[in-house]
Symmetry: C2
Subunit: 202 residues, 2 copies
């Protein structure tokens, strides 16, 4: 995958790992200060007490840095919510998403912005989404077991997209003011559609 990981495989030793840690910490710190706007290779390198060229060579660009931060964060295992009902789970998921987009700095936002002009960031984004959706498949399975959804197979990915997409759409594309009701409304709407058989795989 990324150059950083390749390098780590080839010489996982103390210095390489230490510098990676320094740089990734610096990315997070810079992100916290200036948001994804003020994030620059120069700034990261300076803060990490590392030379520009090192960063350019190992991570190529800002997108590469963000991709690596995401990869490092992916090592901590995230768990989908489990509230006892499908609509509750999806609502909780949406609230989590909404918060991740509103918190400053928003890593999610930064990754999206970078993914438009960085191949590494784009790949990291795609991969992150695939993982998340795969993990959330369990929500649908549990709902079927509880009898909340018709026994016939429901396409988990479609359902999850229907539930979560509006939150992103509202905050990222429309850039509208956050609506505290949206997470629940969107989740409920998706569940109703699912109950009506909208996402049954045919």
């Amino acid at each position: 995958m990324s150059d950083a990981t390749t390098a780590r495989d080839r010489r996982p030793g103390g210095r390489t790992a230490r510098i990676r840690a320094q740089v990734l910490d610096a990315v997070r710190a810079e992100l916290a200060e200036g948001g994804h706007e003020g994030l620059t290779v120069e700034g990261v390198a300076t803060r990490a007490n590392v030379h520009r060229t090192t960063v350019y060579r190992r991570w190529r660009d800002v997108g590469g840095l963000l991709a690596d931060v995401i990869a490092a964060a992916g090592e901590i295992d995230w768990q989908p919510p489990d509230t006892g009902s499908l609509s509750g789970d999806l609502t909780a998921l949406n609230e989590e998403i909404q918060e991740s987009l509103l918190v400053r700095p928003s890593l999610a936002r930064a990754l999206m912005a970078a993914s438009f002009h960085s191949e590494q960031a784009a790949r990291a984004q795609t991969r992150l989404w695939a993982d998340r959706y795969a993990q959330c498949g369990i929500l649908v399975e549990r709902a079927v077991e509880r009898g909340e959804l018709p026994a016939r197979h429901t396409d988990a990915r479609s359902l999850l997209m229907a539930a979560t997409a509006p939150v992103y759409h509202h905050l990222v594309l429309q850039r509208a003011d956050p609506d505290p009701r949206l997470p629940r409304r969107s989740a409920v709407a998706a569940v109703l559609a699912a109950a009506a058989g909208a996402f049954s795989a045919d």
Copy 2:
């Protein structure tokens, strides 16, 4: 609104208008060649046979250029589809959206990318969405008249978001391969949810 429009109001004369036309044409041309990646102020200015400084002063940055292109395009009046059924209308709308994201160059994509680091582009984006949704309100009204939706008031914006958001989510955020079925599936799901009262304003 934009500097360009202000300027045009204050001195709408031949040269100002001519240069605006040259520059906006150049933006579209550059976009067509290099996509939203290769879009640079320098390139636009050169192609338009105009000096860099002129562009910087009137449009500030790439986002301003795109915002003005959008504004100019907004002058041609777009009409929401009218197929005779709500699900048909929403499907057609989604297919239009999907095409606008897949066509090269994608003005929509470029505007999104720019909106992350240009205030003007961000505002243009927000305004564009508000206009589109307002215009699409008629779809819901017609559906109610036809008896496709319960008589009680349905929140048009929520319904439209539920229908369209997944398409953007799929193509822009997930960057997954285009799914020719998604426009219809997503539209139908939204209609089913609406029929179940998911978007009734309370």
